[in-house]
Symmetry: C2
Subunit: 223 residues, 2 copies
Amino acid sequence: MPPEMNLRIAPRSVQQETVDKLRQAIFSGLFQPGSRLVESQLCAQLGVSRPSLREALRSLHAERLIEMVPNRGPSVPALSWEEATAIYEVRELLEVEAAGRCASAISKERLVDLKNSLTAFEEATSSKDNLAQVMTAAEFYSIILVNCGNPILEEVHRGLLARISFFRGRSMSLEGRAQSSLAEMKDIYEAIAEGNVKEARKAAQRHLVKAKAAAQLSMTGKD
Amino acid sequence: MPPEMNLRIAPRSVQQETVDKLRQAIFSGLFQPGSRLVESQLCAQLGVSRPSLREALRSLHAERLIEMVPNRGPSVPALSWEEATAIYEVRELLEVEAAGRCASAISKERLVDLKNSLTAFEEATSSKDNLAQVMTAAEFYSIILVNCGNPILEEVHRGLLARISFFRGRSMSLEGRAQSSLAEMKDIYEAIAEGNVKEARKAAQRHLVKAKAAAQLSMTGKD
DNA sequence: ATTGAAAGAATGTCTGACAATCCTGTTGAC
DNA sequence: GTCAACAGGATTGTCAGACATTCTTTCAAT
């Protein structure tokens, strides 16, 4: 088979492109929580037609990134402290399980990926770049989830990812939180590298408990 | 406030209606697994326009009820035995936790709802009506999830519900499986009614282990 | 000031259109 | 006869425009 095969550029569809742009915009807090998303405005800003935009909005709604009230259109939900707590509790359930499974299931090659993402997070930490911290931390966990041996676990977690990233962004902006996270994630990595299931679960749990506390601090301190 | 207030009938939108119809159709196996869903055909059958249909398809895709390959359109995925296993494992994680939380969080009134849904399932069991069994069993678990005190747990579980129902339908059709399920669900109910967290978790786990075994039997036996 | 009506804005939905892409069956070359 | 190129139809991706329905807001009348 000729090498051109992989050159086939995936011309991402307008709708997919739109979903990505909007998701990023919501992530980065470009829209005020509670603010309405007016279709005609978004069409103009993104340069897409209303049908395409509406399909994108449906996708985002399914991700629970936007709310849609009939006849009132979509809006960016204001994430509450209660919701943050609930999400962290479910994260704990999922990520502890995933870390444990990953410790026994991950391959040597993927372990290298995990190590690399950890290094990337370390660099982001010292760079004080909040967005980079969020992205690399998400990458680290994504690798764990993808290699935990249960695709549904990964799927479910991905459904929470948008909101996780939102809260992560806030807690990471706390003084010293990124540094602590780094240490905790190193523990997780090492347990996984050793194939130590129990320790991986414990490390993941420790990380979550602290992340949750940090997130709550960042929420209650500002809201 | 006048009593007419609640008479305000919610005129469900075309897109929502379409989602429901298609979901039901997929549930009931009206479409062969792997078969393609042609937009124009569906529009004609459902009597909706293409934009509305496409929005509905996006919603269903987000629920993972259909696959969408670019330029080839949506199709009904063939659910595999591996996927069934993965789903049951995640169910175990979620439902055991939910049962435990529910045991300590549910109110008296909601406990009555739970009891009622159990009775409904009992009737469905004796009636040998497979669809009714699936629906009432889903209702029973839905009540547990809604009252577990963590809305995210419920949300995540609902995202799996479509596929859970699919597998449940197959395993319930096994001789005697509905009867066993009933007994196991009664155990769960009683533990919750007593507020016994540990026992509720154990009962939920026992149920899941057996349901998983039954589902695998129903999958491997026919595929 | 409160209520009510009208104007304006936004959503829900449809029709129709066209380009890009995929699938299929036929033709043509070896 | 088999395989490959190709033409044609079918299907998806995307857009523009339209209109009824449903908020929302403004303004006027009591």
